[in-house]
């Protein structure tokens, strides 16, 4: 293999699996270290820079970072990254001195952000400090979008939502609420310099053709609409037996909300098997923990009603069988269909982005799945003025993706407004490597591996929680638990950097490495090398770090897969050929606190 170029920003970035997995590339280890040092405000701002809504995300994020956490690969549970984010938010001090300054004198460019959800708000935050005049349009009476309408208060208290939403609004966003957008042409006519469409995926999927759907329509609700109605106080109760159809997080929110609004009995019925449900593990756990049964492998056949009065739903019994390609297929089991009583059905079987208000003749082209055709890098649509982000862009995702899109779109909009090329003028990614060696065996980070198991987040008393939709279920880590959990972080951003010409090939690093990551061997092709290492490197998603040829003609090969960054290789290295260096990635972004 060719020697690894550690100055390629992406090489070490991939080693920081959590950050790499985070759509917004939040520098997770860095903020966890700040938490460990009880520097909560700085930890919060580091988050705020990247993902804009640390308090909200600390409660609601889909956490793509956690399955990526290296701890998982050492046969443990991941660091509770998401909940640590909340620790930063809960314990932060006054952040005002850290906030970007918004110039009173504007730059003369006006941008319109359609929808006031997370994507638009993040774009607003990025552009405001550069002097843009930012207008937000939304059908709802307040900003927040799905964060406000689809996430129940027991998961995200309204104060937390409003604090972070208002922070941006107060930077000088001009809000146009209760504003029904029904024509993109009209919006374009308003002559903004650029447009950002962040209206999300507001249409819940329905089963219009299922027998009985129309007749019993009064007792059937679309999950997200129902949640929104609860959020705005239009719906305050639900009675009788409730069936929630669907296996995603919305379904989980629907059933748990139903419980709190007075349902006599709530059951979740899912078409697919339990393991393949879309809902996050922890959402499923919480649901089950609140005593709500989840019934799997039951696709609905029909709604059973008597004269429009819903009686229940008839379900087919299926099972998941792997076909010859190993793909799971639903096959009827032959058992008799199951009838389940219901007074109300909440359908949470998916969402679609839906922009019927965008005329199809104004230069914004859509593909066969009715998604806008976008440049993935710039998020620019076929109408150069119009940019997309969040769920409007590529279909339903989550808040953290919205933030990520927003940063990219904001750069594009800025370049567009300044008349620069959206691709070639984009600021580059970069990496800085800074040695962490402070003494003979002292490092600037807590290098010792903490074998502690993941700490459990305390919860509110269930009785109290189930009786009031506003009582937040999770209490979050207190300071002590937060500090302990923070110590579980492996500091994957502190990289093992190898300098060939210093190495005397004494094997000290090989011997000390607890994870058997390091091998000195003859060079070869990657597939060959992977099999010849001290421990076989079977995780192909993880790179091999290969040195230049050493004096003996061999190379150093390090499997980045399970390195716990304990620094012992560097500590035992007599010549400092190994060093622990913190990698700081420069991911281009506007309007962060550091600009």
């Amino acid at each position: 293999m060719k020697p690894t170029n550690v100055f390629d920003p992406n090489y070490f970035h991939k080693v920081v699996d959590c950050q790499w997995a985070c759509p917004a590339h939040t520098p997770v280890p860095e903020y966890i270290r700040l938490i460990a040092q009880q520097r909560y405000t700085e930890a919060y701002m580091l988050n705020w820079d990247s993902n804009v809504f640390p308090g909200i995300l600390g409660r609601t994020c889909d956490r793509p970072c956690e399955p990526a956490c290296r701890r998982v690969r050492t046969e443990e549970k991941p660091v509770a990254i998401c909940r640590l984010k909340r620790v930063a938010a809960d314990h932060k001090g006054d952040i005002t001195p850290y906030l970007p300054r918004v110039p009173t004198r504007k730059n003369g460019k006006r941008v319109a952000l359609l929808g006031a959800g997370p994507a638009s708000l993040a774009v607003a935050r990025d552009l405001l400090p550069l002097g843009y005049e930012v207008h937000v349009f939304d059908k709802d009476p307040g900003a927040g979008g799905m964060m406000r309408t689809q996430i129940p208060a027991f998961r995200l208290p309204i104060e937390v939502l409003e604090e972070e939403v208002d922070l941006i609004m107060d930077m000088g966003v001009q809000g146009h609420f209760n504003y029904t957008i029904d024509s993109m042409r009209d919006m374009l006519d308003q002559g903004f310099d650029a447009y950002f469409i962040g209206t999300g995926a507001p249409r819940g999927r329905d089963l219009p053709n299922l027998p009985g759907r129309v007749e019993s329509g009064a007792h059937i609700s679309i999950g997200i609409d129902w949640l929104s109605s609860v959020a705005f106080g239009h719906t305050t109760s639900i009675s009788g037996k409730v069936i929630v159809m669907g296996g995603g997080n919305t379904a989980m929110d629907c059933c748990r909300t139903s419980m709190r609004l007075g349902a006599e009995e709530v059951t979740v019925v899912v078409r697919s098997g339990f393991d393949v449900m879309k809902a996050s593990e922890w959402e499923k756990e919480d649901t089950i923990g609140e005593g709500i049964p989840i019934v799997n492998n039951r696709p609905p056949i029909k709604f059973v009603h008597e004269n429009g009065k819903l009686k229940g739903v008839l379900f087919q019994c299926i099972e998941q069988v792997a076909d010859e390609n190993g793909r799971l297929e639903s096959v009827p089991t032959g058992e008799p269909d199951v009838f389940m009583e219901a007074d109300h059905v909440l359908m949470a079987i998916g969402q679609e982005n839906h922009c019927p208000w965008i005329e199809r003749d104004i230069g914004i082209e859509f593909d066969q799945w009715d998604c806008p055709i976008l440049n993935e890098e710039t998020l620019q649509s076929t109408n150069p003025k119009v940019f997309f982000g969040g769920d409007s862009a590529f279909g339903p995702e989550n808040i953290i993706w919205a933030s990520a899109h927003a940063h990219r779109a904001a750069i594009s909009m800025h370049l567009f407004c300044q008349g620069e090329d959206l691709l070639s003028a984009r600021p580059p990614e970069g990496v800085n490597l800074i040695s962490q060696k402070m003494g003979m065996h002292e490092w600037a980070y807590d290098s010792a591996h903490d074998p502690a198991q993941r700490f459990i987040v305390p919860k509110a008393d269930q009785k109290v929680a189930l009786s009031n939709i506003k009582v937040e279920v999770e209490l979050g880590f207190d300071e002590e638990l937060g500090l302990k959990e923070a110590q579980r972080c492996l500091n994957c951003d502190v990289q093992t950097v190898f300098t060939e010409n210093l190495c005397i090939e004494c094997d000290a690093c090989v011997d000390i490495c607890p994870m058997d990551c390091i091998t000195f061997t003859d060079n070869g092709e990657e597939s060959d090398l992977r099999g010849r290492l001290t421990a076989p490197a079977s995780n192909l998603e993880q790179d091999l770090y290969v040195s230049d040829e050493l004096k003996t003609g061999r190379v150093m090969v390090k499997d980045e897969d399970v390195c716990v960054h304990c620094g012992l290789c560097a500590e035992r290295c007599p010549t400092n050929a190994w060093d622990m260096q913190k990698s700081i990635f420069h991911i281009p972004q506007l309007g962060s606190s550091s600009t």
Binding site: R73, T74, E75, M440, H441, E442, S447, A448, H449, P451, I504, E505, C506, D507, A508, V510, D511, I512, P514, M515, D516, C517, A535, P536, S538, K551, T552, V562, V564, C566, L568, E571, R572, C573, P574, T575
Partner: protein, 351 residues
């Protein structure tokens, strides 16, 4: 040395031996030797070899003398008892330990100061006595703990850190062992576990006295240009004569060398020691030729490594002493005390 301890966490695919244990179960607390010390590599090789042999990690007795090398038994086989004795006397203590309980595997660790100077006498005599043990010398040619004086194995002309040459002839422990009648003699290099680990395994299974002289560079005082015990020098001047590949009892022996190149030696426990000759004319069963070969190569500045000599029919001191099979330390009053009746007869014999 390191400040933090080696984490317990290990590679998820770390292999298990026949006892269901991983190599990590054979480790000890973290070393306090200098970073890069060859001795730590020897310890790591011991750990690996013991794990591969599937001997329970508490069934070893580790004994050492004094010096850097002699500290190492506390850094491997943490579940085994160790005894860090006095300078140069590891052989006698190990002899006693082996006499007391022949069922434990004795590993003696010594250094070139410990063995080739103060302990030269005990070294010679434990060879003669054929104590069933593995005797490893971590040989770095220098006194590390006292900061870099020449040791007795330092080659004549090899320089110290200040550039001053050693004026004295070296003591070659391998030649000595061969001469006095050791039945398993090897030399290896701390920087080559592929060679060292099988040698350790074979040495542990050898019935009788097994000696491995391991050139183990001292990074602090003897790893400079001019030293003949540096990583670079040894790598550049190695002459590997016989690779020993160890094949455990239950593994099928597959012929992966051309006939004539290899030779299988049956070990006492039924396992096989496969010898692969890298030097065609070399015969590891011919003591005299081995001695001559080592001598000639040494004159040429070469470091001969590998399994230099083996007598597969060797026996140990328990056989010579004709002791019972049970460990002596397991015998109780019933087996040991002749009783009052016998004593009356003894009294009578003194009248």
């Amino acid at each position: 040395m390191s400040f933090i301890s080696k984490p317990v966490v290990h590679h998820p695919q770390l292999g298990h031996n026949d006892l269901g244990l991983t190599r990590r179960d054979y480790e000890g607390p973290i070393s306090t030797l200098c970073a890069g010390c060859g001795h730590d590599s020897v310890s790591a090789a011991i750990v690996q070899a013991c794990a591969e042999l599937s001997i329970p990690p508490h069934r070893f007795a580790k004994v050492s003398g004094i010096g850097c090398s002699s500290k190492t038994p506390s850094y491997f086989l943490g579940n085994s008892h160790g005894l860090n004795s006095v300078h140069g006397r590891m052989p006698s203590v190990t002899t006693g330990a082996n006499l007391a309980n022949r069922s434990l595997h004795c590993i003696g660790i010594s250094g070139d100061g410990d063995t080739a100077s103060i302990g030269l006498g005990q070294f010679a005599h434990i060879v003669r006595r054929r104590v069933n043990m593995l005797y490893i010398v971590d040989n770095n040619g220098t006194y590390g703990l006292t900061k870099g004086q020449f040791s007795a194995t330092n080659d004549k002309g090899s320089t110290n850190k200040k550039g001053l040459p050693n004026l004295h002839e070296p003591i070659d422990l391998v030649s000595m062992a061969l001469q006095i009648g050791a039945t398993f003699v090897a030399r290896s290099f701390s920087g080559d576990k592929r060679q060292l680990v099988p040698l350790i395994r074979a040495g542990l299974l050898h019935e009788g006295f097994a000696f491995i002289d391991v050139v183990s560079p001292c990074v602090a005082f003897n790893n400079h240009a001019g030293s003949t015990k540096s990583y670079e020098y040894v790598r550049g001047h190695r002459d590997d004569v016989v690779m020993a590949d160890f094949v455990p009892t239950h593994e099928e022996i597959t012929a992966d060398y051309a006939p004539g190149e290899r030779e299988d030696v049956l070990m006492p426990d039924g396992s096989t020691l496969r010898l692969r000759k890298l030097e065609e004319t070399y015969d590891p069963r011919d003591r005299t030729k081995a001695l001559n070969y080592v001598h000639d190569k040494t004159l040429q500045g070469e470091v001969v490594t590998g399994l230099l000599y083996i007598d597969p029919d060797a026996s140990d001191c328990h056989a010579m002493l004709n002791t019972v099979a049970e460990p002596l330390n397991s015998l109780g009053e019933a087996e040991l005390c002749p009783g009052s009746e016998a004593l009356d007869a003894i009294n009578a014999s003194f009248r």
